[in-house]
Point group: D3
Chain length 239, copies 6
């Protein structure tokens, strides 16, 4: 089985990062990994949640959601169902933890950045696109805060980017699209910081358990993919 | 107080209607009324809700929602709050009723079209933009159904378009932006069919009650605005 | 099709307004439009919602609900379902807006009047009966407040009353009962102030869209009906 | 402390039972115990809940609720809060069990009677008034069913009535009003069948625990009160 | 029908009360009535609910729940269903009221004890086991508070214990197991204080109504059972 | 900082696996990792969820929850809050995926095993204890099914066990208790099958990102820990 879009196994899909997609948000990015399209908005609040008050520390949090027709068949809205599903909760928490990995909360001061990642269209890798885009929106929100003199220092210690990897028909592949994701044996999401270290590693055996050598090959592939995404983030931020 | 964007009182904002914005949906439109930006997706299901079964009739329904940072300050997600607010309910119902006004349910057969209108950015008139865009997405979904031979006839008896009007500082104005909406005395949303008749008229006194002559002036303005929107819808569908 | 109760097309049903139906509420009215029976209670609170504090302004809000067996077949309770339906939300909001149209919030001072409109029996026109009764309950609550010296002036700038109108078999008719409501082509709810101006106009094409001349005929009919209701409200308040 | 309305300790408040208060319900009663006013509606469904199907047996169930301004200060609606409180649940279950105590489910056949008891005004004893009224509404619904030939026999084996008793300042008293209820040491609700036996006994020590002799005195008082209520129910049903 | 475990009619099941079953809770008890096993945890908070503040009085409250596989067939979790059922509400309230019957709130001071009663395994009598165990956990929490000098006096005016009784095949029996509970005609839960008075009496006719002599026999049986449970509680607390 | 219980860095806490802790469940285990105590119940249903019907395949699913006083300070019940938190959702999903990794769904046939993992006491590693215990409960449920001839073959392809590892003060440590968990820089949960392969790897940078060599050291430690847990599971199952 060749890749549906004829990519090499270690090749990312076409990645587009459009900054300033919204007029109101302090930072906003429309990020695309191939046909996956996620709108990331960063909202700044000059306060922190109650449990964080008077600590001198800031906070960064994230929420992930999918429009009902982002996918091939329509999904009911979680607002209509009256509850958030487990998958949504899990991904929101992953994005939040990942982005917090690059933040110096002291430098942020008692400010909160809320990152909203809404999937407009899904073709695999929505959570990794969301993390990659959310970092850029966050960086823009940090610039906005710096312009308003809200910061004590530079809260961005490094950057974060994320990519999915998986074993499809015995081959480790980078940045799986939806079709590959469904065919993958092992599925892994890896979040790296700009300096090449790991913030999150989440690997799951979808069919058979995986051994250490497969795990190693996937980690290599993901680290290289994240490095390339870091380059694209920096390029976008330099524009 | 001149209009914030120097429009004439009877002038629409720049309206853009982009068809086919999503890969999966049977019809999809990104509609813009100035800075208001609504993504409308039409999803076809080859069945009807239970209460409609074995009637030979189809169904069309709509859901409206706003991304948390569509507005100037962030709003909590209704999925997180666990309940849909009254405003959302009210607008979803309005869109559904409006779009159903142009449908011949017998010709539609026992199929359902679900219209999802998600506001990506809000600057006043989100419900009227949603109705105007939803009609175009619906028309594309109808074409898709026709291609699949799912229909018994032409379910589109006419088209629908909608616009807001209001009295701002004594002057009737067409297609209010957010700033004007907040300053309006009377606020009215009008839905017209392609042949110039009314599907919905919803007028509200925001400050002082309005008299019959004001009402008449607003209805004239709205009818003309809807006629222009009908032209733009047809133009978009002809592309 | 003659009217089920042989009324003239421009004739209201028998309207009864019983004040003081409850012992505890600061104002309470059992209002009947024919077989439609709504209990309206006005509760005074000497404070305002948080977003209104320290503004010097009061607030008036409303909630509408229906007992499960108000209708021909039993409806599940919204408390049991765990969520309020769209129709209930929409009508609660309509009642609130309508009644606020007659209030001078400065004269009310930082007090809140909560209007509860509970439909004990439904035969069409429950929302218009509710608005008409709620005004009288509100007026009694205002008297109660005046007696307690809670007011800065007279918060009632005018009165409000509401009535439904519709086109049934080509004829514009006033104050539709349930049977007529189901048969109506166009259905409109109109809220007028005591001086004959409009606070709300909500017209919906139930079957075919309506044209301007139909709209005009319905508005005339509604305005006359509201004037008669205003007279009945004043009569009740004078007792 | 004399009784607020100068009743003798073993005297009921004025009890009024108005049948046929609603046009639609198969049985309906407005029952008053002094200022306590409960609307009881019986709805017949010619089927049973899923777990009861094909058993040949019927079902009777009840729901209790209070209008927001039934009480001295306004209570939030349970529909708005999105959940039913423990007290409401508890009373609904009590009414259901009590009324089922007089039913022969075989004679009822696979039919369901749903009893809705809505408190329009509360002055103590709402649950006992509800049970007393619900029985009469149920009896009327049974007559309606008999008229439609839906029954296999007479499902009413006996009647049920309920009353509260309590010890106030050392004295056992019958049918406590709200003020007495708050001052009572022991509070007991007793449900009796028409033949003088017990369907439910619920006694609670509100302040100090009670001993057997107090319990006995309260049971005597309650049994006599229920006998009198049974007489009033029969009188109402004979009208 | 002999008792499933060959007990005498006035005999309790084997009762075990294990104190200190949890490391964290201020008081904790694993209580067993035969195969019924309830974990009772007492949590101390050095504050009271808002409505109780500045009263100088403490508060004691309880929550009851059942693990999904406590019973013969699995029950869905109430957290998953998103709402607490009526039975759970009712029992939580019963436990709270019962335990509060032995408390001097002035001596407790502005502290709250929260009692959590989680049924690990159910074989009838879970609510009475919960009350019996909760008292012991509460007594341990009170000792803990005394050790911390949080108390103004001794808040335990007496003890409470509870047992179920019922009429099975015409015979009054003590402490019904699940099988007997299902076969019982009358079912009663009785809560007594350590000095032999009643805190709660809840009797329900499961099949036919019961007369005064049955009621008397059940109350005798229950009072003796509670006295025995009181002895076992004291024994456990003396260990 | 030495380990709070003086263990070697590569040493598990005392692990106890008690089978048959519940009378009703088809499999049940009380598993302890030191002071962490989780009750795992396996419930067999001879059917599958709707989306799985007529596939010939079985299903295994899991739910995780914590008693309110499992932890040092009391947590509100998720049933009372009316919604399941993100952490609970995430762990329930992890347990389900992990246990499914050892199942041959064809051999299971159209049966469902529901695993309920309720944390009675928490001292770190609740999710890994839950997975380790759930496997044993599952194995007992499989034996029960085999005894009833419900199976087509052996659905257990292998076993699963799980352990946490983390870097505390620069040292990789196995099976963290709560205190260590809070002090860990990197925190990883690893699920291995009985043959030493990986079913899940979830690593999170709690403070600073981690590099590949740290990751490798943690994976080595976890794999050895899981091998030891596998031995203890087999020992328990052999009893």
């Amino acid at each position: 089985m060749p890749r549906p879009d004829d990519r090499a196994n270690d090749q990312l899909r076409t990645v587009r990062i459009q900054r300033g997609w919204l007029d109101h948000a302090e930072g906003s990015v429309l990020v695309e990994f191939g046909a996956t399209r996620v709108l990331c908005a960063a909202s700044v609040q000059e306060s922190v949640p109650r449990w964080r008050r008077d600590s001198g520390l800031g906070w960064v949090t994230a929420e992930y959601a999918m429009l009902p027709r982002a996918t091939n068949t329509r999904n009911d809205r979680e607002s209509v169902r009256g509850r958030i599903g487990g998958r949504t909760h899990e991904i929101s928490r992953l994005i939040g933890r990942s982005v917090r990995a690059c933040i110096d909360f002291k430098a942020l001061g008692e400010n909160t950045v809320q990152l909203d990642c809404d999937v407009l269209q899904a073709d695999g890798g929505t959570r990794t696109a969301a993390i990659t885009g959310a970092y850029v929106a966050l960086a823009d929100a940090v610039s906005w805060m710096r312009g308003r003199k809200l910061l004590r220092g530079n809260p961005l210690m490094t950057s974060v980017a994320a990519v999915s990897v998986g074993v499809v028909e015995g081959e480790p592949r980078l940045d799986l699209c939806y079709e590959e994701d469904g065919a993958a044996n092992t599925d892994m999401n890896v979040v790296c910081t700009g300096d090449g270290r790991f913030a999150e590693v989440q690997g799951t055996a979808e069919r058979a358990p995986f051994d250490r050598s497969e795990l190693d090959a996937l980690l290599d592939l993901a680290a290289a993919g994240c490095a390339e995404l870091t380059r694209l983030q920096n390029e976008a931020l330099a524009r």
